[in-house]
C-alpha cells in the first residue's frame, strides 16, 4: 500500500540522495564516476536493489490463482505495485495500468491492439520529428500493414514543434496522435496539454511517450487528459525489462487483445476463448514480477523526494550545465527549446562525438555519443550524431565542471 502524504519539503540534500545509489560512489579509470547518461538508463537506489533481491530470496512464486502462501504474497505485491503506479500517474483506476516490458512494448501494444482495430487504409497518424525510433517504427509497420499514412509535425531550429503546423495536419482521416513528452535527444518539453486539447477538439486520441518525462516532473494523466501514456522502469530508477502502459479505460475496453496466452483469458475451449478483464487482458503469460515490484519501489523512492522538488532542483543543474557548456566557444548546443529537461545535446567543431565520448570517459564522465535513436532529428540538423549529457535527480552542478574541463582538454589536444 502507498500512503498518500503531503509532498515532501525542505532542503534538497543531493549528497544524501547520492548515498542511496551504491554505484555512484564507484571510480572508473581511477576517477570518481560522473554519470551523465541518464536519458539512456538511470542508476538504481539501494531500496530497489533490495526489493528485487528480497523478492527472489523470500517472496518468489508465480502470481494469480495460487492458493498457497508464497503465491498469495507475490500476487499481493504485484497488484499493490499496480496501485502504486496508478497513484503515481493519478490514473482513475488500476484497470488502466498495464505492465509491459518497457516503453517500446507499450507503444507496440497500442499499435497492435488499438491500431489494427481502428486504423484503416487512408487513415492518418500524427507523430513529430523528434520521436524516438520506438515511437516511429511501430506506426510505420502499422501503416505498411493497413495502408494508413504517417504525418510528421515539423520542428523549428530550437527544437520546438511548430504548433500551427501541427494544427494544420489534422484532417477528417486523422485517427491518432503519438508524441514524445520530453525529447531524449533535444531535451524539449513539448506542450503536451495543448497538443492533447487540439487533438481532442478533432475527436482524436493521443498517446504520450513519457519515457523521459516521468523521472523529471510530475505526470498526471487525468489533468493531461491523455488517452495512452508509456514509460519504462529503467529510466526512473527501476529495473530493466519492465514498463507501463496507461490507457483510458473506455478505450482499453474496445481494443483487440494483444498477445494471446495464459492470464489474459477467462476461459479457453477449442471452440471459443473469452478474454479476461482489464488490465489482465493485456498481460499474457507470466509477467516480470521482480521487475514490477522493483519498479513500484522506485516510484515510492521518487515520491519520497517529490517530483516537484526534483524538477526544481534539476532545472537549476540543467541551467548551470547549459551555461558551463556554452562557455566553450567551439561548442554548439543542439536543442534550445523554450522549455527543456533532462538532456543537453551538443556538437564541437572539428571533433567527432565518438572521440569526445572516449576522451571524457577517461575523466570518469559517462555521456552518450550517437543519434540517440532519433535519426530524423539528426537529419533535421544535418549532423550525423551529437554528444549528449543527461541528468537525473542525483547529478550535481560540479558534474558539469568535470565534463567541461575534460572537453577543454580534448579541444586543446586536437587543435
Amino acid at each position: 500500500m502507498v500512503h498518500p502524504k503531503a509532498p515532501p519539503s525542505g532542503r534538497y540534500d543531493v549528497d544524501k540522495i547520492r548515498a542511496d545509489f551504491p554505484i555512484l560512489s564507484m571510480e572508473v579509470h581511477g576517477k570518481p564516476l560522473v554519470f551523465l547518461d541518464n536519458a539512456a538508463s538511470t542508476q538504481k537506489p539501494r531500496a530497489v536493489i533490495d526489493a528485487v533481491e528480497r523478492y527472489y530470496r523470500a517472496e518468489n512464486a508465480n502470481i494469480h490463482r495460487g492458493v498457497y502462501y508464497l503465491s498469495e504474497v507475490a500476487t499481493k505485491k504485484y497488484e499493490d505495485a499496480r496501485q502504486t503506479v496508478q497513484q503515481f500517474l493519478n490514473a482513475a483506476s488500476t484497470r488502466e495500468i498495464i505492465f509491459t516490458s518497457g516503453t517500446t512494448d507499450s507503444i507496440n501494444l497500442v499499435a497492435a491492439a488499438y491500431g489494427r482495430k481502428f486504423i484503416k487504409e487512408g487513415d492518418e497518424i500524427i507523430i513529430s520529428t523528434m520521436e524516438h525510433h520506438s515511437n516511429i517504427v511501430p506506426w510505420q509497420m502499422l501503416c505498411q500493414e493497413t495502408g494508413a499514412k504517417l504525418k510528421v509535425v515539423p520542428i523549428d531550429d530550437n527544437g520546438d514543434i511548430i504548433f500551427e503546423a501541427y494544427e494544420a495536419l489534422f484532417s477528417p482521416r486523422t485517427r491518432l496522435v503519438a508524441m514524445v513528452y520530453i525529447s531524449n535527444s533535444l531535451g524539449t518539453v513539448n506542450p503536451v496539454k495543448a497538443v492533447i486539447d487540439t487533438a481532442h477538439q478533432h475527436g482524436v486520441p493521443v498517446l504520450l511517450d513519457a519515457a523521459q518525462a516521468v523521472a523529471h516532473q510530475p505526470v498526471d494523466v487525468q489533468a493531461l487528459d491523455c488517452d495512452f501514456l508509456a514509460f519504462s522502469g529503467h529510466k526512473i530508477f527501476g529495473p530493466t525489462g519492465v514498463g507501463v502502459l496507461y490507457g483510458r479505460e473506455k478505450i482499453l475496453e474496445t481494443m483487440n487483445p494483444y498477445r494471446g496466452g495464459g492470464d489474459m483469458i477467462r476461459s479457453v475451449t477449442f471452440e471459443k476463448t473469452t478474454y479476461n478483464e482489464l488490465p489482465h487482458r493485456f498481460e499474457a503469460g507470466t509477467p516480470n514480477m521482480a521487475g514490477v515490484i522493483g519498479l513500484a519501489e522506485a516510484l515510492k523512492y521518487v515520491n519520497s523526494i517529490g517530483l516537484g522538488r526534483i524538477s526544481a532542483y534539476e532545472e537549476e543543474v540543467l541551467a548551470y550545465g547549459t551555461e558551463a557548456l556554452r562557455s566553450i566557444k567551439e561548442l554548439r548546443l543542439i536543442g534550445t527549446a523554450k522549455r527543456k529537461a533532462g538532456a543537453i545535446s551538443f556538437v564541437i567543431d572539428g571533433l567527432h562525438p565518438h572521440d569526445i565520448g572516449t576522451w571524457v570517459d577517461r575523466a570518469g564522465v559517462a555521456i552518450r555519443a550517437g543519434h540517440h535513436c532519433t535519426q530524423p532529428v539528426m537529419d533535421r540538423y544535418h549532423i550525423p550524431s551529437t554528444s549528449r549529457a543527461s541528468i537525473a535527480l542525483y547529478n550535481k552542478k560540479e558534474d558539469f565542471d568535470v565534463l567541461v574541463e575534460s572537453l577543454k582538454n580534448i579541444i586543446e589536444v586536437f587543435r
Binding site: 562525438p353 565518438h354 572521440d355 572516449t358 576522451w359 550517437g370 550525423p384 550524431s385 589536444v413
Partner: protein
C-alpha cells in the same frame, strides 16, 4: 590519460586533421563503401589496380579521428603495394588490434599502422580502426555488399 595519449598519438591527430589521399578517385577500377552503424562512420575507398599492383588509392567519408586517421595512414601504406601485400598487411593489422594489450606491436610487419595499437585499450573503438581496412579488402575482392562492422 596515458592510455588516451597512446590512443590519440600525434600522427593520428595529424592524419585526422589533414588526411592524405582524401577525396574521390575519378578513375578507379575497384571501390567499396564501409559503414559503422554504431556511430554512423562512413568510408568510401577507391582503387586503381593494374597487374595486381595498387597504382592509386583514395578515400572519402566521415567519421571519428580513429577511423579517419586509419583510412589515411592505410592509403599511404598501400599505394604501390601489390594486392597480395595489401592482404598480408591487413592480416597483420587485424592480428595487432585483436592481440592482448601487453603484446607489443610487430613494427616490422605493420609499419606505420603500429600507432593504432592503442585502440586495444578501448574495445568500443577497435571497429573504428578496422573500418577502412575491411572496406579496402572488400573493394579489392569486388564484394558488392556494403561493408558493415556489425
Amino acid at each position: 590519460m596515458d592510455e588516451l595519449k597512446e590512443l590519440y598519438q600525434q600522427i593520428i591527430l595529424d592524419h585526422n586533421k589533414d588526411p592524405k589521399n582524401y577525396g574521390k578517385l575519378e578513375k578507379h577500377n575497384h571501390d567499396s563503401e564501409g559503414f559503422n552503424p554504431l556511430c554512423g562512420d562512413r568510408v568510401h575507398v577507391y582503387l586503381m589496380v593494374e597487374d595486381g599492383l595498387i597504382k592509386e588509392i583514395r578515400f572519402e567519408g566521415s567519421g571519428c579521428a580513429i577511423s579517419k586517421a586509419s583510412a589515411s595512414v592505410m592509403t599511404t601504406l598501400l599505394k604501390g603495394k601489390t594486392v597480395d601485400e595489401a592482404k598480408a598487411l591487413f592480416a597483420q593489422f587485424q592480428k595487432m588490434i585483436t592481440a592482448d594489450v601487453h603484446t607489443p606491436p610487430d613494427v616490422e610487419k605493420v609499419g606505420k599502422m603500429a600507432v593504432f595499437a592503442g585502440v586495444r585499450e578501448f574495445p568500443s573503438r577497435i571497429k573504428c580502426a578496422g573500418l577502412a581496412w575491411h572496406t579496402v579488402i572488400a573493394a579489392i575482392e569486388d564484394r558488392d555488399e556494403a561493408v558493415t562492422t556489425e
